[in-house]
């Protein structure tokens, strides 16, 4: 009996995956050498960059030719190819189960995670998945090789939660399984009153190269509401009485932009890659354009 395909997998999805190649900007130190380049500068044959010499640097890396021309000491930096563990942290809270059909945020997030996981496995990277809600609600220990693909996708398929979002708590719970430096991709809407800062700082503390993927539904970006409404929170059931007018809609969009800029700024100051995607975006567009722009795919 052949295993049933996850709901997010179709032929189109598969064709796109084959054209993707994951690039991790920082290479991580692993037990097994992998094919993926790390943007962490180290010892290899592929030149990456120059930088000024600082006391204590390895003098073997000084570019003496440049010194002869410029009379200044520069270090030659090389890209170091290493195997990485890719941690996919997927928001499985109630707010992710939102959006119309194909624009469902949860579905979109699972597809993105599945695609990244697929690429990582093909690059002989290890892939671990954590399902986050008000705590860590599911965790797939690192798997390697294409033979683990179905197992990976089955786990991602089951990462559908219905609880509150508490990123800090759930990431801390997940941190017990992250034993060394690596790549962590956090996919969430980040619409959590408890905040995201602590969670991201904790991932950096774990020496993770963090990429934040914020997924928002179209009706969160451009709400089509009007009149006197009692808004019910999908996650908490809390209500909020509003009279939706053009003025309030403008205030909402201002707050949304402010929130995204705040999150983006937070990531920028910490060297975290940040992208914000609408769940209505076609997957290939998201995977090629958005992930390429963020340096996640080539």
């Amino acid at each position: 009996m052949s295993p049933r395909l996850p709901s997010f997998v179709d032929q189109d999805f598969m064709r796109q995956l084959e054209r993707l190649e994951l690039v991790v900007r920082k290479s991580a130190v692993g037990k097994t050498s992998g094919e993926r380049r790390s943007i962490k500068k180290g010892r290899s044959v592929e030149f990456a960059d120059f930088r000024d010499y600082a006391p204590g640097d390895d003098t073997r890396l000084v570019d003496w030719n440049a010194y002869a021309r410029l009379e200044r000491l520069f270090l030659k930096l090389y890209l170091e190819e290493q195997e990485a563990t890719v941690n996919l942290l997927l928001d499985a809270s109630g707010s992710m189960s939102w959006g119309e059909a194909a624009a469902d945020k949860g579905l979109f997030a699972r597809r993105v995670a599945a695609a990244i996981g697929y690429l990582a496995l093909r690059a002989y990277d290890r892939v671990a998945v954590g399902a986050l809600a008000d705590d860590l609600v599911g965790y797939l220990r690192p798997v390697r090789g294409m033979a683990s693909l179905w197992r990976l996708w089955e786990f991602i398929e089951g990462a559908k939660g219905d609880g509150l979002t508490h990123l800090a708590r759930s990431v801390r719970s997940c941190g017990r399984f992250i034993t060394g430096p690596g790549v962590t991709i956090l996919i969430s809407d980040f619409l959590a009153p408890t905040g995201y800062q602590e969670a991201l700082d904790y991932l950096l503390f774990l020496k993770q190269e963090v990429t934040v993927v914020q997924v928002l539904a179209p009706d969160e970006l451009q709400p089509a509401l009007s009149g006197d409404l009692r808004l019910i929170d999908r996650e908490s059931g809390a209500s909020c009485e509003v009279s939706v007018t053009p003025g309030l809609l403008r205030a909402y969009r201002r707050r949304l932009e402010g929130f995204r800029e705040e999150l983006s700024g937070f990531c920028l100051t910490r060297g975290i890659s940040f992208i914000s995607i609408s769940s209505a975006t076609r997957l290939e567009e998201a995977l090629f354009d958005w992930l390429r722009r963020a340096g996640l795919v080539s």
Binding site: E220, L231, A251
Partner: protein, 606 residues
């Protein structure tokens, strides 16, 4: 902008009521969202000035409040006064005739007229003054040159319609008098237009505006009622008129002395009259015919009649011999004539009429008298006789005495000068002056011919019997009461014996009017319709007469008119305010538009 009825602005209180209800009854639709996280923040930012911010969020609320305010303002009757700076003197003439009692919906035409008058008063500027004239049979000035709107409105509140006709001529004369020398006089005539054509010579010194009231209404009326003795039987004839535009079937009741005698069902085509006859009815004093109908004007559905008196009247003829007179008096019905020679004359007490032929007693006989060629004395001052000049013709006074009389080819040979008979008016004249006079002195009626019948060709003409019939009919009125039909509200000349000491009149509703000597010659309390009983007491003897007040037929045609002819000018219907521009239609239209917009917003919002 000014307001006709500022009190209606109180309806603007509905606006805060709507706001209150909005707060209390705001129904919110429940909508599930992925997270209220951002909404809560946006709401906090947007409602910085809560709760007033909350008001700004509801366009529907704004529109509803706007509609409430506009309607309240429209109810208050706003208008622009085009000539507010001018001082005006208004004369409001209100039609108080019977037709104004016509019921139209919940109001009578008179109620509508009062409403129009109230609006006109409320539209007055501070410098304006107004006079109110109630136009009935005898127009009355209720208030004159009044600037206090409270007093004017109070006068209107107390006004009631009458049951007679409206005397437009007298009303115009009154209006002309009160407008004399006033600034910018203007007359507002508020009526249904069922008015007699006014005298074209009565000119009003200002603008006249006709404010019509009423709509066309069907009506049935008993236009005439009479009782006659035919072959020893009493017959009642009623003329019933259908003033409507459709054939009507109606039942007419005949009452004798207040008791229902019979009912007759008749079909009357539109615009036509029907003569209903009861050929043999029992003896009674008063008769009435009443229609069983429910038309807009109930007052004209009944008419009354009394049977003419059959009493024989005693006449004393004092003459040395006058074949013309004696033969004529013998022919006139109802007269019991006693002839005496002047030498045998001892007085006229006990007679209803004394006729003196070429004779005059030394003192007033105390009864009505007719004299031919009297010698000079207390009746006619000494004067010279003169020959007749030209043919005799009717004078301009007492035309009723010469009614239907053909005076052509009548001459007199000699006559005394009657110009000094100050108590009388000439009803026969020739080129030389008065030939015959008639008049009243106290309760006594007198007719004097200045010529001897033997010195005139009058007895040879056909005019003679008719003229004498008219004269004696006037000299012998009913013993008491009034002769002929009486219109409601009209002042009625009373026939009272000169020797009567007490007079009692009882109206149809039982109101009693008692008079002692000197007895009135005129009775004006005729507002009620029906039969009035009139009783006089003279020398311990009582005699009873009747006074019948029936609704005027001219008031029964209820078709209103849209314009009036005033002399050579046709006056069309006008608005209630002079020089004012009503704004309420504009406001009402705007409110309707906003209401439609509110509905559109509501549909779009849901």
């Amino acid at each position: 902008m000014e307001l006709l009825t500022p009190a209606y602005l109180s309806f603007a209180l509905t606006a805060p009521l709507i706001v209150l209800l909005y707060f209390l009854k705001l129904r919110r639709r429940e909508v599930t969202v992925s997270s209220t996280f951002l909404w809560q923040r946006a709401q906090d930012e947007y409602q910085a000035n809560a709760p007033w911010r909350r008001l700004k969020t509801s366009l529907l609320l704004y529109l509803q409040v706007a509609v409430a305010l506009l309607l309240a303002l429209a109810l208050a009757g706003p208008y622009w006064r085009a000539t507010a700076a001018l001082e005006h003197s208004l004369v409001l003439v209100l039609d108080c005739s019977l037709s104004m009692r016509t019921q139209e919906g919940n109001q009578t035409r008179f109620d509508q007229a009062i409403d129009l008058a109230r609006r006109a008063v409320q539209a007055m500027g501070r410098q304006d003054e107004a006079t109110i004239i109630a136009m009935g049979e005898e127009p009355v000035v209720l208030v004159a040159h009044e600037r206090d709107q409270g007093r004017l409105l109070a006068a209107l509140d107390n006004l009631q319609p009458g049951r007679g006709r409206a005397n437009l001529d007298e009303a115009l004369k009154l209006a002309r008098v009160v407008s004399e020398g006033r600034p910018h006089p203007a007359l507002y005539l508020i009526s249904d237009g069922r008015l007699p054509a006014p005298d074209p010579d009565i000119l009003y010194p200002g603008e006249i505006r006709f404010l019509p009231v009423g709509q066309a209404r069907d009506n049935l009326a008993v236009a005439d009622l009479s009782v006659r003795s035919v072959g020893g039987n009493l017959a009642v004839l009623a003329r019933i008129v259908n003033f409507g535009a459709a054939q009507r079937r109606v039942e007419a009741e005949l009452h004798t002395d207040g008791i229902l005698h019979s009912v007759k069902a008749v079909d009357i085509p539109a615009g036509q009259a029907y003569a209903a006859i009861w050929p043999s009815v029992p003896e009674a004093m008063a008769f009435s015919v009443r229609l069983r109908s429910s038309d807009a004007l109930r007052e004209d559905d009944q008419a009354w009649a009394v049977i003419a008196s059959g009493e024989t009247r005693r006449v004393l003829l004092v003459t040395r011999g006058n074949a013309f007179l004696e033969r004529l008096l013998a022919l006139l019905p109802g007269l019991d004539v006693y002839r005496v020679q002047p030498d045998s004359y001892t007085g006229a007490a006990g007679y209803d009429l004394a006729i003196y032929d070429r004779f005059l007693p030394e003192g007033d006989p105390g009864v009505n008298l007719l004299a031919f060629r009297p010698p000079a004395g207390w009746l006619v001052l000494p004067g010279t006789a003169r020959p007749g000049h030209g043919p005799v013709r009717a004078g301009h006074e007492r035309m009723d005495l010469t009614a239907y009389v053909d005076l052509s080819d009548v001459h007199v040979g000699e006559t005394v000068d009657l110009s000094n008979a100050g108590w009388g008016k000439a009803f026969l004249v020739d080129d030389g002056g008065s030939v015959a006079v008639a008049g009243e002195a106290g309760l006594q009626r007198r007719v004097v011919f200045g010529f001897d019948l033997h010195h005139s060709d009058l007895p040879l003409r056909t005019a003679f019997p008719l003229l004498m019939y008219n004269v004696i009919d006037w000299l012998l009125p009913p013993p008491v009461g009034a002769s002929g039909p009486v219109l409601p509200g009209a002042a009625v000349p009373l026939s009272v014996s000169p020797s009567a000491q007490r007079l009692t009149i009882v109206s149809p509703s039982g109101r009693r009017f008692t008079y002692e000597t000197p007895l009135p010659r005129v009775f004006a309390q005729t507002d009620e319709l029906g039969v009035y009983s009139v009783v006089q007491e003279a020398g311990g003897q009582q005699s009873r007469g009747w006074l019948v007040v029936n609704p005027p037929v001219a008031e029964s045609d209820l078709t209103p008119v849209s314009s009036l002819s005033m002399g050579r000018t046709e006056i069309g219907a006008a608005g209630a305010q002079r020089g004012n521009q009503d704004l309420w239609p504009l406001l009402a239209a705007l409110a309707l538009l906003i209401l439609a917009g509110e509905w559109w917003v509501y549909c779009r919002g849901s």
